[in-house]
């Protein structure tokens, strides 16, 4: 089975089929949903979607890294990274499909 790529367009189409808004508004709702999640994460909030997974932000302190090509030591600045933890429901769903 070949692997395909699903994009915003298909998510919008699914909303259109399922909910019965116009195609335009369906696409807009997908965008709003992603914007709400992004906004919450930007504020440092954790986003928990039951039976899907949770997104959280984690602060990382400064550490010394190395340029693998030159061997030169470079500081890696403190940063914030985003972590997605899939729920057990999603993990199980994916494994049953495999």
């Amino acid at each position: 089975m070949e692997s395909k790529t699903v994009t915003r367009a298909q998510l919008g189409e699914a909303v259109y089929q399922e909910v019965g808004l116009s195609r335009h508004e369906s696409a807009e709702m997908v965008e709003s949903l992603l914007a709400e999640i992004s906004g919450a994460l930007q504020k440092g909030e954790m986003v928990k979607i039951s039976s899907f997974g949770s997104f959280s932000v984690r602060r990382k302190g400064e550490r010394i890294g190395r340029n693998p090509k030159t061997g030169e030591e470079v500081p890696i600045l403190p940063r914030t990274v985003l972590i997605f933890r899939p729920s057990h429901v999603l993990k199980n769903r994916i494994n049953e499909g495999a």
Binding site: M1, S3, K4, T5, V6, T7, R8, Q10, L11, A14, V15, E18, V19, L21, S26, M29, V30, S32, L33, L34, E36, I37, S38, A40, L41, Q42, K43, G44, E45, M46, V47, K48, I49, S50, S51, F52, G53, F55, V57, R59, R79, T80, V81, L82, F84, P86, L90, K91, R93, I94, N95, E96, G97, A98
Partner: protein, 95 residues
Amino acid sequence: MTKSELIQRLAESHPHLYHRDVERIVSTVFDEISSALERGDRVELRGFGTFSVKHREARVGRNPRTGDTVQVAPKTVPFFKTGKQLRDLVNNSSG
């Protein structure tokens, strides 16, 4: 923010929609992503991130408490790679 709070916020910013419809929109989106992953497909949302699955080989693991060796079956796990735009958004807000 939980799923119901997400629904609440979307309902507030789209007051012309029925609350019930907003619930269905949110469920449909996550269900569609889950189904794609179940089929082994990728979900690429530019600026937000990409959901995909990764295959893990069978391996011999160890029960950390007893030290017993156990066979760990091969499995497929969901994976999310944050998009550049979201990564920058999260990073710059922390100051």
